[in-house]
């Protein structure tokens, strides 16, 4: 998996697992061991999607990850 912020690359399990955004979706929050950024991670694809911050974002339910509920329902 590649960090979207600093481009650090390592197997997904090397990125510290924080918690899921929703139990019924494949999106979780992981932390880059190099730059410490919180990353939205697609667990099915094993890919970092984007950095998670308090700002607007296209998916999720909480701030920064809005839209995930709709994603999970679909």
């Amino acid at each position: 998996m590649k960090c979207t912020e600093c481009s650090f690359e390592a197997p997904v399990e090397k990125f510290r697992y924080l918690y899921n955004a929703r139990i019924d979706a494949s999106i979780s929050l992981r932390q880059c061991p190099q730059c410490q950024a919180w990353l939205a991670t697609d667990e099915l694809a094993g890919e970092a999607t984007q950095k998670v911050g308090p700002g607007e974002a296209p998916w999720g339910k909480s701030a920064g990850i809005e839209g995930l509920a709709e994603d999970a329902a679909s």
């Binding site: 918690y19 139990i23 019924d24 667990e43 339910k61 909480s62 701030a63 920064g64």
Partner: protein, 832 residues
């Protein structure tokens, strides 16, 4: 407070924007506005104390000095003399504009430190940057000296030495439960019937004790025999109670003196001068005498609560203020019109603020488990009188109205709903919920009275006096019903039951054999084998906790003891026994079931996907769990989305939930508390679902180690209740809320826009009717939109006053961790 005042915005506009905190600020009196803003927030932000909050070192120092001086005295007498020294010498203060006084620290920004409770808590002081009073180095030296004195001699240290070593290691691992089985960290019920209903001031109680001592002394003068030997101990206990009562009267009169000095020498405003003189008179009268005005009634109650908190670290606040303060309210506001209703509302609001001010230092695990607050102050409102008639009154309304004006996260209310509650009262209850306070929670009064009689044999009249002992658990306020310490009860991390059943009792997180070896789950061929393993682990876990706390309860008079609490409890005043003794207590124990619903969802997932449909094997499952679902994402999604989940009116999983509860209920009747009564389960979480997220391993419901657990009680997993609010209620209605456990917490999120206006109220009222008809005992609501919560995450400064219901308590949204915030937002917003 929030960043920008809304002077130019109309109330109507603010209502539309659901910015209720601005409305409160516009509507409350100048006094309440000042007092609300002047109070220091003691609840931890996530797990950390707010800047400026300091630990009080004066009281621990005063206490320790006298404790050392009286080292040859018996425990209760030694504690009483040490506490009396504290009350005589601790600095006191009166907040500007206040009409009520009393705090458990020496300054408004200090946290009380229970120095004689537990060494492991004392050592936590070193880990908290910023909490030491300046100069820091000198304070650290004082703390080190105090800790050196108490190391090995605190209540928990003493208890740890007598516990079964294996039990102690498992209990203290933090994996299976929490809490310390000592009254040093208590949820003490107060004998309100004795103090308020029977109208005993402390001088009246002193007279009763003198009569008891006289009788006892007569006994000891009679023929010698073994039966008189316990009498000597009791006389010493009565002496200890007398010391506490006299010290408490003197402590209150120190406030009277301070108020009088301020009035006569410093105050220039004639109105405030008059208030200070009234305050002085109030503190001269109470607690010495039974209250004769509404202000005295509130002040008496507040003194009792503060004095109890100076004696022990109290984690809850069992109280029923609209019931016990009603006689004086009725006299002053309704009958004699000595004060106006607005003046009374000011007193009620301040009464809540004084409680919000209270805070004691807690270890990190406790702060994480109760984010944003320092204890669960759940006050009970409504309900019925002892004869079964409606107890709601104008003071009930005043409390509900004052709550919306002061908007504190602590205390909160639990409202005892019953079919005779008037519409006027229900509207006020709804307004609090609609204003986003997250309280009152709604409790089914007839059902809980029946439950109290069923499980603990409380007589009907006594059961009808019940208050929330902590977040949820009902307890009478009577001579034999009142419960003197929290760790008369146990708190279980229930998700470990299914985790251990799957891992042969081994805990992969703390890496220890915890539960019994119930067999290699990879070899289980049927669901019944798994369920049998679950039952064995469940019994083991509950037994380990219960026998630990039973021992703690039995030894508590020797290891800690409560002379003040004894002095205000009729059974202790009568018997001369420490009130924490199980003797004379009917027994009202319960096992708090944290992280409970994960059991039903996990067992159902295994039954369906492994044993019924055979889509996966137990090998597949155990491999996935041991890898924390890493590399098994599609399978994890199947376990979440293809297995039925609690809260959708699905008999498959609901049947498993009921079966699990009935197994526990059966066991609850077999195990006994030290008073000989049962131990029913009470599923609820506070924010233990976040605390335990890094302690509970991966589960078959699709949860990984690290994920928040469900938000507790019998609430469905966040976002997993997909079939609407009726389906949630129907699932919950399959549980027997009398016979299957002591109480069951249900969190629900409702849409604030749907519930606007009269139509919204009628919808909610119909929902409550369905809830009652289905026989549920509890429900509580969050009614803050996702948009507001997300906005608060992005710009917390602007949303300092947004309150949410976390679990059995409310907190300011910005004070809880991001993980807890996310967990609340994940909960389904139900349309009704």
């Amino acid at each position: 407070m929030a960043a920008q005042p809304a002077k130019d915005t109309s109330t109507q506009e603010l209502e539309q924007k659901q910015e209720w905190w601005w409305i409160a600020e516009k509507k409350r009196s100048k006094r309440l506005d000042y007092l609300r803003k002047a109070v220091w927030k003691k609840g931890a932000l996530g797990g950390n104390y707010a800047p400026g909050i300091k630990v009080d070192l004066e009281i621990p120092q005063l206490f320790t000095n006298m404790w050392n001086f009286w080292r040859y005295d018996p425990p209760m007498l030694r504690r009483a003399k040490s506490m009396a020294h504290v009350l005589e010498n601790m600095p006191i203060f009166i907040t500007d504009h206040a009409q009520l006084v009393g705090y458990m620290g020496t300054l408004p920004h200090t946290l009380a430190w229970r120095v004689d409770g537990a060494t492991m808590v004392n050592e936590e002081l070193y880990n908290e940057p910023g909490v030491m009073p300046e100069p820091e180095q000198a304070s650290l030296k004082r703390v080190a000296d105090l800790n050196a004195y108490w190391a090995g001699n605190t209540a928990v240290d003493k208890l740890a030495r007598v516990l079964d070593p294996e039990d102690a290691v498992k209990f203290l691992s933090g994996a299976i439960g929490w809490g310390a089985p000592t009254s040093a960290y208590g949820y003490s019920g107060k004998d309100y019937e004795f103090m308020f209903a029977q109208r005993h001031g402390f001088e009246d109680i002193l007279d009763l004790i003198d009569q008891s001592i006289e009788k006892a002394e007569d006994l000891t003068m009679g023929n010698p025999g073994p039966e008189i030997l316990p009498v000597y101990d009791r006389i010493q206990n009565w002496d200890a109670m007398k010391i506490m009562l006299n010290a408490a009267i003197a402590y209150a009169r120190r406030y009277a003196r301070l108020a009088r000095i301020l009035a006569e020498h410093y105050e220039t405003d004639p109105k405030r001068k008059e208030e200070l003189l009234r305050l002085a008179q109030t503190c001269e009268n109470v607690p010495a005498k039974a209250p004769s005005t509404f202000q005295e009634s509130l002040q008496y109650d507040h003194f009792v609560q503060i004095l109890a908190r100076l004696e022990a670290h109290e984690g809850a606040w069992p109280a029923r203020p609209d019931y016990y303060h009603w006689p004086m309210y009725e006299k002053d506001v309704i009958k004699e019109k000595n004060i106006t209703r607005e003046e009374a509302l000011d007193l009620v609001g301040e009464f809540m603020i004084r409680a919000y001010e209270v805070g004691g230092f807690g270890p990190r695990w406790a702060r994480e488990g109760l984010q944003g607050i320092t204890g669960t102050w759940v006050w009970t409102l409504g309900g019925v009188n002892k004869d079964g008639s409606d107890a709601c009154n104008d003071l009930t309304l005043a409390f509900l109205q004052a709550a919306r004006l002061v908007r504190v996260a602590n205390p909160t209310f639990g409202f005892r709903w019953h079919p005779k509650v008037r519409d006027e009262v229900m509207r006020e209850v709804f307004e609090c919920i609609r204003h986003g306070l997250g309280y009152p929670s709604i409790r089914n009064d007839p059902l809980l009275i029946q439950n109290a009689m069923h499980w603990h044999g409380h007589p009907l009249e006594e059961a009808r006096t019940w208050v929330h002992q902590a977040c949820m658990s009902p307890c009478p306020t009577t001579k034999h019903g009142v419960q003197p310490m929290r760790m008369a009860s146990a708190t279980a991390n229930c998700a470990k039951m299914v985790e251990y059943a799957l891992h042969n009792g081994y805990d992969h997180v703390v890496q220890m054999q915890m539960g019994p070896k119930t067999g290699d789950a990879r070899k289980f061929k049927t669901f019944d084998e798994l369920f049998a393993a679950w039952t064995t682990q469940m019994k083991w876990l509950i037994n380990t906790l219960v026998r630990t706390v039973n021992l703690g309860r039995y030894k508590d008079p020797e290891f800690y003891g409560r002379p003040f609490l004894s002095a205000i409890s009729e059974r202790a005043v009568e018997s001369g026994l420490d009130v924490v003794s199980p003797v004379g207590d009917r027994g009202n124990c319960w096992v708090t079931g944290f992280t409970w619903v994960e059991n039903a969802d996990s067992l159902a997932a295994v039954k369906k996907l492994v044993f019924d449909e055979k889509r996966y094997t137990m090998d597949d499952l155990l491999n996935a769990l041991e890898n924390n679902w890493n590399g098994y994402e599609q399978m994890r999604r199947d376990f979440v989305n293809d297995a039925p989940k609690w809260g959708n009116d699905d008999d498959f999983v609901d049947g498993i939930m009921v079966r699990c509860l009935q197994e526990v209920a059966k066991h609850s009747r077999e195990i006994k508390c030290p008073s000989g009564n049962s131990w029913p389960l009470l599923p609820e979480n506070v924010s233990g679902n976040i605390h335990y997220s890094s302690i509970v391993g991966a589960l078959p419901n699709g949860r990984r180690l690290g994920d928040a657990l469900y938000d507790g009680g019998i609430s469905p997993g966040p976002g997993l209740d997909k079939k609407g609010p009726s389906a949630v209620l129907k699932s919950c209605g399959k549980i027997d809320h009398v016979g299957d456990g002591r109480a069951f917490l249900l969190n629900q999120r409702l849409s604030p826009s749907q519930l606007a206006g009269e139509k919204g109220y009628q919808l909610w009222k119909a929902y409550i009717r369905t809830w009652a008809d289905l026989g549920l005992d509890h429900v509580q609501f969050n009614m803050v939109s996702d948009e507001t919560l997300r906005a608060a995450q992005k710009d917390p400064e602007k949303y300092q006053e947004v309150i949410v219901r976390v679990a059995g308590y409310s907190a300011h949204f910005v004070d809880i961790s991001r993980k807890t915030q996310d967990n609340i937002i994940q909960r389904t917003v139900q349309g009704i």
